[in-house]
Each structure stands twice: as C-alpha cells, then as structure tokens.
Subunit: 343 residues, 2 copies
C-alpha cells in the first residue's frame, strides 16, 4: 500500500461536494483502493473470481444437507452459466475461473475447468487427518499457481468455493486456529437443522478432540481438519497480496481461508476487504479475529464467492463517486461554516 496516494485520496474526499465523511464506508473503500493501486483516482477494470472446488470425506458422517454428487454437478452449472456466481460474474463482466482441487467423483472430462485434483476428496477427518502434509502444501500451491495465471492487469480478486461438507471443514479449521470449541462456531451450513444440526455438532466436536493433539501450527490445522479448496484459497490470498492484487473476501468459508492465510503470512491481511457477513454464526468470530467489517449484511449463506461478488458494485460505486464527483472549488459550492469548538 502506498501512503502518498492514500493521503491524496483522503484529501480529495474532503474536497468533494458533500459533508466530510458523509459517504461513510464508501469513502474508506475509495481511500483503500488508492493506497493499493498507488494512484489518487483508483479504478477496477479487470476483476477476477476463481471458484475452488473439492470434496470432504467427513460427509460420510451425515453433516451436510446435500449429497456429495452435487459438487461436480455444480461445477457443470458454474461453467454452463446457471449458478449464482455465474450470473453475478456476467452482471459485473467479471472473469470466472473454476478449479477442481479434488472432487470425490472424477470430473477431468469437464472442459472449461482447470483440473488440479490433489486427491478424490479429503479423508474423513472425524477418523483421521483430512490430508497429508504434502497434500496441504500442494493445495496452497494450487492457489498461488492460479493467481500467477490470471490475466495481466487483473485488479481485484474474489475467491469462491464449492464443496459439499466444506462448512464443517471451515468450522473445525477456524475453531482450531482460534482455539475455540467447534460448538462456538457451528451452524446450519447449506441447511442442516434440528436433529441433524445436533448430530453435526457432535461429529465436529469429536473431530476436534481427535485432531487437537496433532495440531501445533496453522498448516497442521489444515492437514487435520481442512480441505483442499480451503488450502488453495489461502494460497491464492497470500500470492495475490504478494503481487499487490486487492482481495475482496467472501463469506464464512473464504474468511476462514483468509484467517489461515494471515496465520501463514501476516502481510496478506493488508490487501483484504470483506464483502459480506454471512448468516453462518461462525463468521462473526472469524471476522472479529481478522478485525474485519464487511460491506454487506444481506443474510446470504451460499458461498461460491456470491457475497463478495454482490459487494463488488458497492466498491465500484465508491470509486465512481470518488473519481467523478466535483470538488467544492470546481462546482463553486460553499464549504462548512460551523466548525464546532469541540472538534
């Protein structure tokens, strides 16, 4: 981030024809992008969304509302243009890339998907480690590789995820990193309620008890209770930050990957803006740990990058206002005449 551009953008905000501060978070967003892009009038011209997909062995325990076949079915839906993130990518003229990080049902025949399967889904982490140390590293590397392959000039990165059972993995991963019980974070995911939710809580609590003794680092937390797409997103965030590409973080699962990324590389946090606060209860805890205040609270809980994509228009409007509004001098508008003694 560039301090001089940040100061220039702040000065500009205070000269625009509005009471200082009256655009609230839109002002903060514009100033952030000025610092990120090193220019007083920042622009977003080539936003990119990458959806990372993988399966989770723990679904054998009945922790998800949808069958595992849905992961691959949704990959098809992403590339066919029918999924929520497909619609939002079209709406924003945003690039959409889909990466197979390891589905339970092989899908290498699918064209339009980048195939980097680590394995046919993780192991059932209620019984054993989700993945090996090598697999965890491989997952992180996939994310870095994808960032390196983005079109030159890509100026905003949204990571989405797809993977039946990945709310369970994110819950345990966040709980492990934050040293909280899984019960402090667990929620309905895509729609687990009543008796089934109680069962999910028990499975996750037992998984945490099993895994705890093997975890002394964030990477070991990923190995024990994480997922391939969670690792890939964390790797992508770290590389995006290293390359100076601003990150718009999605909901609970993406934020948990962000938490992992920041544990592995503290500097990654400086390049993150948060799009949407999920209805999933664990998200508030993860956001708190990241000192993050998302732009939107629309009670969404879909994933795929959909919350961040919805927030992209807020960012675009923030920049349009910042760049296009007239200053007091340009518009011959009188400034404030009452400045309180208390200020």
């Amino acid at each position: 981030p560039d301090f001089r551009s940040e100061q220039g953008a702040l000065a500009r905000q205070n000269e625009l024809t509005k009471p200082p501060g009256s655009l609230g978070m839109l002002e903060e967003v514009a100033i952030k992008f000025a610092a990120w892009q090193g220019q007083v009038k920042p622009q977003i011209q080539l936003p990119q969304c990458v959806v990372f997909a993988a399966d989770h062995g723990v679904v054998a325990q009945g922790v998800s509302a949808f069958p595992q076949a849905v992961t691959v079915e949704m990959l098809k839906n992403f590339i066919a243009g029918g999924a929520a993130i497909s619609v939002l990518a079209r709406f924003h003229q945003m690039g959409l890339t889909v990466v197979n990080c390891g589905t339970a049902i092989p899908c290498e025949y699918l064209q339009g998907v980048i195939h980097r399967p680590v394995a046919a889904g993780t192991e059932d982490f209620s019984l054993q480690a989700a993945m090996t140390n090598e697999q965890a590293q491989q997952a992180l590397d996939i994310g870095a590789e994808i960032i390196d392959q983005l079109e030159v000039g890509s100026d905003l990165f949204i990571a989405g995820e797809m993977g039946i059972g990945n709310t369970s993995a994110a819950t345990c991963l966040a709980a492990m990193i934050l040293d909280l019980p899984a019960t402090a974070l667990v929620g309905p995911g895509t729609g687990v309620t009543g008796e089934n939710l109680h069962h999910k809580q028990q499975v996750l609590a037992a998984s945490m008890r099993r895994a705890k003794e093997f975890v002394e680092s964030p990477l070991q937390a990923l190995e024990q209770v994480g997922g391939f797409e969670l690792g890939a997103i964390a790797g992508a965030y770290i590389r995006a930050a290293q390359r100076g590409i601003p990150i718009l973080v999605d909901g609970f699962i993406a934020s948990t990957a962000a938490l992992l990324a920041v544990q592995l590389n503290e500097g990654a946090r400086d390049w993150m803006l948060f799009g949407h606060q999920s209805a999933e209860p664990g998200h508030a805890r993860v956001l708190e740990a990241l000192d993050a205040e998302p732009l939107l609270q629309l009670n969404m809980r879909l994933g795929e990058g959909s919350g961040a994509a919805t927030a992209l228009t807020i960012v675009k409007q923030a920049l349009a206002l910042h760049n296009e509004m007239a200053t007091f001098a340009e518009a011959s508008v009188s400034g404030q005449h009452l400045v309180s003694e208390a200020e």
Copy 2:
C-alpha cells in the same frame, strides 16, 4: 401487489440451484418485485430518481453546518453532473430530475430544473408555523404532479432531497408524528457537533414545545415543523404507490417523508423498499415505526437519494439472480437429501 406472481416467484426461488433461502434478502427483494410487477420474472428497466429541494427558515437559528446558499449551489451541481446523486444516476443509467420546491435564493433562471417554488423557503418554525395549510397541500401536490410526469414505463422511484436545515425539519416532523421528544431523534445532520449540536437540540426542543398545541394531524405536523421538499416527497410516494411504481426509500429525511405518506395513506407502505440505514440516529426510530429493514448499512449520511441509489445495484443483482439462475431440473443438480424432523 399480485399474490399469484408472488407465489410463483417464491416457488421459483426454491427451485433455483442453491440451498433454499441461501440468498437471504436478495430472495425477498425478487419476490417483492414479482408481486409489484405482476410477473414471476420481474425486471427494472427505467428507474427514476427525483431530487426535491427547498430551504428552511429555521437555519436562522444556526442549526446547520452549511450556509443556506448551498441549496441553490447544489442544484447547479446536480444538473452539472458533479454531485453524488449525479454520479450514481450515471452509474445506473437512471433518470435524474431536479425539482425546486422553494429555495431561499431565487433560482428560476436555472435550466434543467423543474421550478415549483411554494415560497422562498419555509418560515422559521422555532418562531411560527413553517408553512400554511395551503402551502402544505401545495407541496404534496408537487410530488404527485412529478410522478404523473415521469416517463411511461418508469418502474422504480427514488426520492432524494436537498435543503440546508432539512435534517432539523425531518427530526421535528418525525418526533411530532411518533410523539417522541426531539432529543430522542436529533443528530449531527451534515456535520453539527459539540456545542453546535447542543444548541441544535435546544432549538428543536423549543420548536416542538411551540408547535405541539397546533398539531392534531400528520398534515398539521407538516405545516408546523415540516418542509416543502418533505411534503413533496410524501405526495410523490403516495402517488407512486397509487400508480403501482415500487419505491426505494433513501435515508432519514426520505424515510420521514415516507412516514408522513403512510400516515396520510396507509396503502403507500406496501410499495416501499428501504435502501440504506443512515448514520443519523433518528433514522432507526423512523424505520422501526415503518417496520422497515434497509438493504444497506454503509454509514452514509448525505441524502440526495444517494443511499437508495447505492442500493439499486443490490436490487438489480437480486433480479438478475432470480431470473437467470438455472433450476435444479435445468442443471441436473441433486436437491437436498437431509430434511430435519424439526422442520
């Protein structure tokens, strides 16, 4: 609103390739527009923003951070394209109309503004009624006339306002209608703080004491402590509802006009969606009285319709998702397999 289209839209939402309810408020917005437009796949093609401007005699008491000259200066800025609402209207390709309902400094020479001045600003309502009964009626009529003049096919209405001192008028008007002390609602407006805020509180409390005995109806509240633009917006909301044009309500001042509109014509509420919850403290009380939950909370406090305009993209994305996502059948995606006994 059309019940059959509403049910059709709800059924469609539950067939789209996502967990039911996972798009949160975006689902509710789409279903509302289906009911409003009488079609299962609603669209917004011709949104309209109208900014109503007027001056306020009470500024003689030093209740605003900006000099009264700013009202006309900002009218020029609106039509020149440099104000926040001008930028947002361009961003959304939304119609922008500016109406002079009565500025203190005459501005009839301004082209591109619709001139309907009721008077050269209201009287100072700390000393006497802001306007006569005839003027209050005239203000309401301006709003209705403007709605009748909107381009055929206009399918969304945003009212904005401009008027130095109108946070004070809205505060007293809302307090009068809600039977609350002005101190329960008063806030900084465009930037009154410290000693000046304390002074504003005293002026508004005194105005309420003076006016109270003359107010037995919502229309009398408008006469005593309102403003021409507040009356015009209320009149516009009522007429928009009568014509079946959905309303996206802006911040504190527009919401206070919405409260007045609903007091005058209860049915107007059915056509309102709320865009943004303002940083102005009185807004929460007004929203509560209207049982309204705005789409955005971005800490904005500018007026001009800017909060509602920012929320317009949320509405557009809600409709794009609703109309363009594939259903489970279309995409051959498996539905939920766990349905809790508790549901």
